[in-house]
C-alpha cells in the first residue's frame, strides 16, 4: 500500500551554500528499515527532479534511525545571492516528506503504518 513519508518520519533541513540538506528521521525505530529500503537515492532524485538543478547525495545514520540527503543546486545560488523565500533551505525538510512510498500490505500492517488517504 502507499504510505506517506510525512506519516512515518520527521525531518529537518539546512543549507551550505547552494546545497540544501534534509535529514529524515523515522518516527518509530521499527519503521527505519522500511525508510532505508524505500527512500533511495533514485527515488529522492526523482522526487526533486523539477525542483533542484544539481545531483542528490545520500547518507545513512542507522544510529539515529535517519537518512541525510544533500540536494545540490537547490537554492538559486544560496545565502545572500538567492532570490527565493526559502533561501536557506529551511522547508526542504517538509518538501521531502511529501513523498509516498510503496510498502507491502502485510509488512505495513505488521508495523502499524498508516495508509495514505485515497485521493
Amino acid at each position: 500500500m502507499r504510505v506517506r513519508l510525512v506519516d512515518i518520519a520527521h525531518a529537518r533541513s539546512g543549507d551550505k551554500g547552494d546545497t540544501a540538506n534534509v535529514g529524515v528521521i523515522a518516527l518509530k525505530p521499527e519503521w527505519f528499515p522500511v525508510i532505508e529500503r524505500e527512500v533511495t537515492l533514485r527515488a529522492v532524485s526523482g522526487h526533486f527532479r523539477n525542483v533542484i538543478t544539481g545531483k542528490v547525495e545520500r547518507f545513512v545514520l542507522p544510529n539515529l534511525n535517519a537518512l541525510n540527503f544533500l540536494l545540490h543546486g537547490a537554492l538559486d545560488g544560496g545565502g545572500t545571492l538567492s532570490l527565493k523565500t526559502d533561501a536557506q533551505g529551511k522547508v526542504f525538510s517538509t518538501a521531502l516528506l511529501r513523498m509516498t512510498i510503496e510498502v507491502p500490505d502485510d509488512e505495513a500492517r505488521r508495523l502499524g503504518m498508516p495508509a495514505a488517504a485515497a485521493r
Binding site: 539546512g14 535529514g23 532570490l83
Partner: protein
Amino acid sequence: MSERIVRVASAQGFWGDSLDAPRRQVEGGPIDFLMLDYLAEVTMSILQKQKERDPAMGYARDFLGAVESVLPAVAERGVRIVANAGGVNPHGCADAVRAVLAKGGASAVKVGVVTGDDLLPRLDDLLRDGHALSNMDTGAALETVRDRVLSANAYLGSGPIVKALAGGAQIVITGRSTDTALTMAPLRHAFGWKDGDWDRLAAGIIAGHIIECGAQCSGGNCLYDWRNIPNLADVGYPIVEGRADGTFTVTKHPGTGGVVSVHSITEQLLYEMGDPTSYITPDVVADFTSIRLEQEGPDRVRVFGIKGRPATDKLKVSIAYKSGYKAVGTLVYSWPDALEKAQLADRILRERLDRLGLRFDTILTEFVGVSAAHGPLTPATDAPEVQLRVGVRGDDRRMVERFTREIAPLVLNGPPSVTGFAGGRPKVEEIVAYWPALIDTRVIQPKVEVR
C-alpha cells in the same frame, strides 16, 4: 565523591536571537559557562562594512547588553563567558566590554581576546605565496573576485580559547572561531583533554553542534509532535552537562518551556549536515554515525559513544565579496482566481521589464501561499489569496532600481483584486556573497591576549 559535571549553557544561536536568553540562562539554575554564537556565514562581511564606516565598530554590539544583563553572575558567581562576538574587531569589542565592566564595578573581571583569524590584510601575500583560496563549491580561483573581497577569515579551533581560559580570562571574545569550538573549548579546558583525545574532542564538538543554534535543539523549530511542545513562549535554552570521559547530557533549566528529547536532539544533529562520517573541524574529524542518544529523564538526553579522528592540515576560510544587486517586490491577489491573477500580473511585469530594456542575471517569481515553499511538488488548490513575489538580481544597480518602480503601478494598471502594497517600493540591496575556501593550517597563527 560524585562525578564532576561542567555545565555549558547556550544563550545565543545567531546575531538577532532572544535578548533575554543570557539572563535567563544564568538566573535559571547553576551553570559554569555561558556560550554565545553570533556569527553566521555572512555576518563577518556586514561587520566589515560597519568597521569601514567607524573603526571602533565591527563586532556584535548585542553582546554588550548580554554582558550587562549577566554581570552579577559573572562577578559574584564566577560564571565564565565564551562568545564569537568580536567579529572583525575583537579588540574593539573587548574595549567596549571593559567599559561595561567598569561601569558595573567589575573591572577585576579579566577579558581574553582571540585574534589571528583575519586574513584580509594578508590576502595578497597569501595569494602570491601560492595559496589559491579557490572556491570549495565551484573551484574558481579567488583572483576572479579579488578586487571585490570585503572580508576573509580563517575558522579557528578550540586551542586559543582554551589558552585564554587557562590564562584566567573570565570572558573570552573571539572573531571567526568555529561555532562548535565555543562549547568544546570550555569542556576541553575544564577536563584537560589533549590533542590525540580524538573521541573526547569529537564529543565536545558534537555537544557544540547540538547547542550552537540555541533553542533549535530544545523544542524550537521542532517538527516532531510540534503541537504538544509545551510553553514555547518561555522556551528553555539548552545546557550541556559535560563529563571528563566525553559523555554528556543535554538538558534545560527546570520550569522552562520547550522539550529536550531524543527527537528534538536528533533533528538538530541533522541540521546543516553533510557527510555524517566526516564532520571536519580544526580540532578533530567527528563521526556522527557513532552518536548514541538515550532519554535518561524528562528533558534530559544522554549522549555517548562518540568517535573522532585526527584533524586535517587545512582550515576553512570564509571570504565575503560584493556580487551585484537585488530587489524583491510583492503584491497580494485575492479570490476568486487568485493564482491566475497573480500569474497574469507576473507576465505583464516581465513584458514591461523587457520593453524597458532591463536585463538581469535572474528574475525569480514565486506565488506565496501556493508554491513558494515546495515549488512544483505542490498540488493544485483554489487558493483564497496569493502573494506574487518577484525578485531580480544583476550587476547594474540602475536596472535593479528601475525594476522597483514597476511593482506599484500594477495596482492600478494590472489585474484586479490586488492589495498589500502599503510597504512601498522594494529596497535595492547590495549582495555580499560567500566564498568558502581552504588554507594550510600552518600559516595561521592565532593570538591570545588576557587582561
